[in-house]
């Protein structure tokens, strides 16, 4: 059984965002998810940073302080090799979750 909790979903969103966008700071991740999901999904700041920190500790992402276009110092996150592996796993388990939920919804 795959790991199908909500935390896993947030991880998936963050990992996918980073794999698509390369390097982003926390605020950028929030904006990207909002924009890419066509305003359907909003990531709460209160959950994002603990998740980022946990993923950094697990070695899935790596952080670096950089200067933004508007000349602010911000912490930029990037996917590691372990993170790419984790992303594939998360995508698979998400597919399973969606299939499972769909099957239940269709069950008449």
């Amino acid at each position: 059984m795959a790991r199908n909790d909500l935390q896993g979903t947030l991880d998936l969103l963050v990992l996918k965002t980073l794999s698509q966008m390369g390097e982003l700071h926390g605020y950028g991740i929030v904006l990207h998810i909002q924009r890419a999901s066509e305003e359907l999904l909003t990531v709460e700041e209160g959950s994002l940073y603990p998740a980022l920190h946990r993923m950094e500790m697990s070695g899935w992402i790596r952080a670096e302080w950089k200067v933004t276009d508007t000349n602010r110092k911000a912490k930029y996150y990037r996917l590691t090799l372990a993170g790419q592996k984790e992303l594939r796993k998360a995508e698979e388990s998400f597919e399973q979750l969606v299939q499972g939920i769909r099957a239940i919804l269709r069950y008449a």
């Binding site: 926390g26 209160g46 603990p50 946990r54 500790m57 508007t70």
Partner: protein, 878 residues
């Protein structure tokens, strides 16, 4: 996964917090900028951005929690929880702490002694590569001065070689006189050891130009402080050593006390100087073995290469000089006077260290069974914790935290107590007449060993319940409502541990009884003299500046004056008393020997010089022939009195009276008397040959007045002192009763007995608490069963058998095994303690009674409890 990063994070939380704050701050600012761009007022934009985060502090905590939960914070939480758990059961905590304090404390004390006497290098500035170069036989391992000069000049393996010997002398200033112990050392001694003067200067090899060329002395820091009030003005002044003038040129630093770990001499003097006539002789005689050689190896030379090198020189010397026949060189670790003290002290310490370690092991066994019982009691709690999702590893870690916390606490307290004890030991001077004490105060090495032992023992007994946790089936435990199902049928690890502990305890109790009996017997051993009721007054006549010629006159006057005192039954003089610290040995030859080299001798014999009347005063039985008279003087033919062993070894069963033996080409002696055998060097020695010469035919300045009197010591000492002072007021005397003077030879046995006694006591305490804990636990767990048994009509005896069968069985088998081991260990003990044998009904009975008493003590309360089972009340409680 970056464990390192986590560690860093945990230790630098504030830095981590700052980083999180900065990151959130950046986020908020970007949001505000976007909000304003989207048309919000600055006020509103800011409010909106902040609201999204909620409380900044909570946010920060949540971020840190993401890793802190798995980092060292968890360990801290475990420890806090452990502390709370321990507070909740004070009985367990107190028992465990006491056990640990005793176990670890004992180890710290013993290890400090090992550290001080074996591990720590010499207290000299440059201790590396130093070795004593000694002769073949331990105990007679001194070298001679001319041989030293040859070894020093001809070797190619040592960067330098110094010589020293310890002597006593009277040092007098204008105002006072002191009896001192001092080192006579070769000129290069200080330079080789790297010693710098604290005040003034030291002497050097370049100042030695033959006998009496450097009349200087260097004071020890302590002597300078005590007797010269640390006055630098003493430098350059002249003091008298044995009435010969010497100039004080310097003071050494407080920490320096020479190359022996336990001797603290008062001053140092160049070896070429002689404060008396006798001691100049040794500088030129190869046959006089009375110095220690200390060599410093060249950097790349191994001890084996150096030994080969020196022995090649020794063989060459032996070929050239008959006196060097059999000369050889061995390298031994310095600090304990060669092998004489070194070997016994080292093996004794190793034995005691082993015992202390075994005691700690017993303590751990004890704690392990206590802890296992406690874990069993808490099995419900543990089952709940497992059921709500904590991993087995987490539960184990929790228990381990409790064990290690207790051990470290116990270790710290134990170390604290032993530090006090060790500081007292450091200041203890076991023999008032010798400058002997050992610095055993703990150093960082001791503290780290204490910490290591604490953590190690904590882990050791904390891991014992591991299997219990691994096999816990939470559902089963919760259903059956407690620890009722813990196995009591088959033998467990706990039983084995307890059995080992009882064995160990019996072993120690047996050894201490054997040692105690040996001690008691040695006080009544046939010494060859009767020390009870004898007062000794010892001096060296050279200290009074007397020449060899006047010595006999003085001695005769002493004997006359003292014998006239009321209450004195007999009085005599011997140069050095048997079983004292000195005395010499000589090679003995049959008549007709022409080549007097060592290897041609018949045997070696201890020799003494005695006055007429000594034998009577000392209580040595004359078995045949006559005592000496004052007519056996320097002009009369040479005569001797020998002991039984001497007579038997030389002449077999024929009476030796009137027969002769030789000590050298011109020295032959007629035997005029035979005395009983005695002990001369140690209480444990086998009977050895001894010969006595008349004082006047073998002059020596050492003088021990042997005064036999039924009067108490306090009455006779002032009288004797007054009479002797009338003869020569400047002569320093040391007074003590003969039994007191034997303290030195009795010391090893006393030390062994005391240590074994203390260890035995510790082990006994541990065994009692161990058996008690086990019996108590088994009884309390089976109260309900007993209640039912009583209700069904069980008798007291049946109950007792059920309650105490297991502990008593362990007690019996453990004691039997321990007794057996004790009997075997006594053979080792026999080397230290006089006639240590377990084949002694008193010892065996003592051990059996002790163990029975211990068993009784340990099982009394549990038995009592099991007999007072009240079935109705017990069943109601359920």
């Amino acid at each position: 996964m970056s464990v390192f990063r986590r560690l860093v994070n945990t230790f630098s939380r504030s830095k981590l917090h700052q980083e999180i704050d900065a990151e959130i701050q950046a986020h908020v600012e970007m949001r505000i900028a976007d909000n304003i761009a989207a048309g919000m007022s600055p006020e509103e934009a800011r409010r909106n951005a902040l609201i999204r985060f909620g409380s900044r502090v909570v946010m920060r905590e949540r971020v840190t929690a993401a890793d802190a939960a798995t980092a060292l914070d968890a360990v801290w939480r475990d420890l806090r929880y452990a502390a709370r758990q321990l507070q909740r059961s004070p009985a367990f905590t107190t028992t465990a702490l006491l056990t640990l304090i005793l176990g670890i404390g004992a180890n710290v004390v013993v290890f400090s002694a090992v550290n001080a006497l074996v591990l720590r290098p010499l207290d000299v500035p440059e201790p590396t590569g130093l070795y004593n170069v000694v002769q073949k036989t331990p105990g007679y391992d001194n070298q001679s001065y001319p041989d030293y000069l040859d070894f020093q000049s001809k070797n190619s393996t040592f960067s330098d070689m110094a010589a020293y010997r310890i002597q006593s002398a009277g040092l007098s200033t204008k105002d006072a006189a002191y009896k001192c112990w001092y080192y006579r050392v070769s000129g290069n001694y200080f330079d080789m050891l790297g010693v710098r003067p604290e005040h003034g200067r030291l002497f050097h090899a370049s100042e030695e130009h033959g006998p009496n060329s450097a009349p200087y002395i260097v004071l020890s820091h302590d002597f300078w402080r005590r007797h010269f009030n640390s006055d630098p003005g003493v430098l350059g002044t002249t003091v008298d050593v044995n009435k010969h003038p010497f100039t004080v040129i310097g003071v050494v630093p407080a920490a320096f006390h020479g190359a022996d770990l336990f001797l603290w001499p008062d001053f140092w003097m160049p070896m070429v100087d002689s404060p008396d006539d006798e001691s100049a002789n040794f500088l030129s005689f190869r046959g006089m073995h009375n110095i220690w050689i200390l060599g410093k190896l060249k950097p790349d030379v191994t001890p084996a290469q150096a030994t080969d090198n020196l022995n090649a020189i020794a063989r060459e010397l032996a070929r050239q000089n008959p006196d060097d026949d059999g000369l050889c060189a061995r390298l031994v670790k310095p600090g304990l006077m060669g092998d004489m003290f070194g070997d016994p002290a080292r093996s004794f310490l190793a034995g005691i260290m082993l015992l202390a370690f075994l005691v700690l092991l017993a303590a751990c066994a004890n704690l392990a069974s206590l802890f296992a019982a406690r874990t069993a009691d808490r099995s419900r709690e543990l089952a709940i914790r497992l059921a709500i999702g904590s991993s087995r590893w987490q539960v184990l870690r929790q228990l381990l935290a409790e064990a290690v916390l207790l051990s470290v606490l116990g270790g710290a307290l134990g170390t604290l107590f032993s530090t006090n004890l060790l500081n007292a030991l450091t200041h203890w001077q076991p023999f008032p007449e010798f400058p002997v004490h050992v610095t055993v105060s703990p150093d960082p090495k001791v503290y780290s060993v204490a910490l290591l032992l604490s953590i190690g023992s904590g882990v050791l007994w904390g891991l014992v319940p591991m299997r219990q946790i691994w096999t816990t089936d939470s559902a089963q435990v919760m259903k059956s409502g407690g620890a009722g199902t813990i196995v009591f049928r088959r033998f467990t690890l706990r039983d084995l541990l307890l059995g080992i502990q009882i064995t160990l305890c019996t072993l120690l109790v047996t050894s201490s009884f054997v040692a105690l009996r040996g001690m008691q017997r040695s006080l009544h051993a046939p010494l060859g003299f009767q020390p009870e009721g004898v007062l000794l007054a010892e001096t060296d006549l050279h200290m009074g500046g007397h020449s060899d010629a006047s010595i006999m006159q003085i001695r005769k006057r002493m004997l006359e004056e003292v014998s006239r005192l009321p209450g004195v039954t007999s009085v005599g003089i011997i140069d050095e008393t048997p079983l004292g610290t000195g005395g010499s040995r000589t090679a003995v030859y049959r008549m007709g020997t022409t080549d007097f080299r060592m290897s041609n001798s018949t045997f070696g014999a201890k020799y003494f010089s005695i006055s007429p009347g000594y034998l009577q005063a000392a209580g040595t039985r004359l078995l045949g022939g006559r005592d000496f008279t004052w007519h056996d003087d320097a002009k009369a033919p040479n005569v001797a009195i020998v002991n039984e062993t001497f007579a038997h070894a030389m002449f077999g069963n024929t009476s030796p009276l009137g027969l002769r033996f030789a000590l050298g080409e011109k020295f032959s002696y007629e035997i005029v008397g035979v005395v009983e055998n005695g002990k001369y060097d140690s209480l444990t020695e086998t009977p050895s040959a001894a010969v006595f010469f008349p004082l006047e035919q073998n002059p020596d300045s050492d003088t021990s007045l042997v005064v036999r009197s039924p009067l108490p010591e306090a009455e006779i000492v002032p009288e004797v002192r007054r009479r002797l002072a009338q003869i020569d007021p400047s002569l320093p005397f040391v007074f003590h009763s003969w039994p007191d003077a034997l303290a030195f030879v009795l010391f090893p046995a006393r030390a062994a007995t005391a240590t074994l006694g203390v260890m035995g006591l510790l082990a006994a305490m541990l065994a009692v608490t161990g058996v008690f804990g086990m019996a108590m636990y088994s009884v309390s767990k089976r109260m309900k069963e007993f209640g039912i048994r009583v209700a069904l009509g069980a008798q007291a005896a049946q109950l007792l058998r059920a309650a105490l069968g297991r502990p008593l069985l362990l007690l019996f088998s453990g004691s039997a095994a321990g007794l057996l081991l004790g009997v075997m260990a006594s053979q080792l003990l026999a080397q230290i303690v006089y006639q240590a044998t377990p084949r002694d009904p008193l010892v065996l009975a003592g051990v059996v009674i002790t163990m029975a008493l211990l068993g009784f003590l340990a099982t009394w309360i549990p038995a009592e409890r099991s007999l007072h089972v009240h079935p109705a009340r017990l069943l109601r409680e359920e």
